[in-house]
Amino acid sequence: MSFDHGILHLADWVGNVIMPTLAAAFIIIAILQFSKAQEFAHSMYGALACLMVSGLTRAFETFASQAAWNNPDLYWLSIVTLINWVANVILPVYAASQVAAMALRLGVFSLVHPTSGWLRHFVTAALCLMVSGLLRLAEFFVAQGVGGLR
């Protein structure tokens, strides 16, 4: 019996036994929230994340091994890699879901009007695909303002 083995098996048990069970609980909560017209996305995505603890751990390990263990920039590199992953992998998928939501809105309401919800989904999808561009635009504005007011 050692502390290392104890805490390792605790992490295994929580990640592989408890979290998949909690995923079912979060799906139930999401359904109940949906029935009451409440925001249910957190519970729904939380349930998915509960089922992906091992995968997310491997992803975090990959983020944290972008350089040698003694490289002072490793923490910064790991955060940059995490942000890159969110911006270049997760957000494009989210953009696709927003396009689908837009199509559903248009199909259900058949009302092409700037104030209806479809436009918000469309703009969100576009913004999700333009994160790098938006960052470069912000950097450009800041660079232009380096000289101060003229």
Binding site: I7, M19, G46, L56, T57, D73, L74
Partner: protein
């Protein structure tokens, strides 16, 4: 003037009792781990203090060799139980060592750990987090293994104390912290699902996986 045999025997007894004191320090460290009452242990708190004393007791003889370099002769006795000429002192040393090993470590510590498991359940019932009690129970159950680990880090040189502390840091950062990163990630997921702040835990999880690099970063800033 020659040191009297009784004095030599007393020194021998104290040196031979140092490993038992190290074991007791580890037990108290485990209790302190829970008493500090948080999800994390406090650097500089009771847990680290008793861990430090455990290391000091374990490396007492190499540490005493520093006196020779100061110019103070420390003629240490042989230290073996057979070397204690005074009968009642030899018996006292054997009895105390057996008491610590057979009574405290093998019987009392597992019972104490069991009480901490019960406390984890009661903690949860009172709205507190059960994890600190569980971790304390695990630490107590692993007392003997932790002691063996510390012994394996003992280089026996006059730098043995810092060698053990350095090796402990490496073990903590290289073995324990990556595992706690998983627990932190689980906490982040639960916080996200229950709409509590979770980004801090994501950043902490990455930090726990890169503690060595952060150490190098701090060094490079100096």
């Amino acid at each position: 003037m020659a040191t009297s045999q009784l004095l030599n025997d007393i020194i021998s007894v104290l040196l031979l009792l140092a490993p038992s004191a190290a074991l007791l320090s580890l037990v108290v460290a485990g209790v302190s781990l829970r008493r500090e009452g948080n999800m994390t242990f406090a650097i500089g708190g009771g847990f680290t203090k008793w861990m430090f004393w455990a290391v000091v007791f374990l490396t007492l003889q190499p540490l005493l060799s520093w006196f020779a370099s100061f110019g103070v002769a420390v003629p240490l006795p042989s230290g073996s139980p057979g070397g204690i000429a005074t009968g009642w002192l030899a018996n006292f040393q054997t009895d105390v060592t057996q008491f610590v090993t057979n009574f405290v470590v093998q019987r009392m510590v597992p019972t104490l750990a069991a009480f901490f498991v019960l406390r984890a359940v009661l903690d949860a019932a009172s709205g507190q987090h059960p994890l600190p009690s569980i971790l304390a129970a695990m630490f107590l159950l692993g007392t003997e293994t932790t002691y063996s680990l510390l012994q394996s880090y003992n280089t026996g040189t006059r730098y043995a104390t810092v060698d053990v502390l350095e090796s402990l840091w490496n073990h903590l950062v290289g073995t324990i912290m990556p595992i706690t990163a998983v627990l932190t990630l689980v906490g982040a997921i639960l916080n996200f699902a229950t709409r509590k702040p979770f980004l801090r835990l994501v950043a902490v999880s990455l930090a726990l996986l890169t503690v060595s690099a952060i150490w190098k970063l701090v060094n490079s800033m100096m």
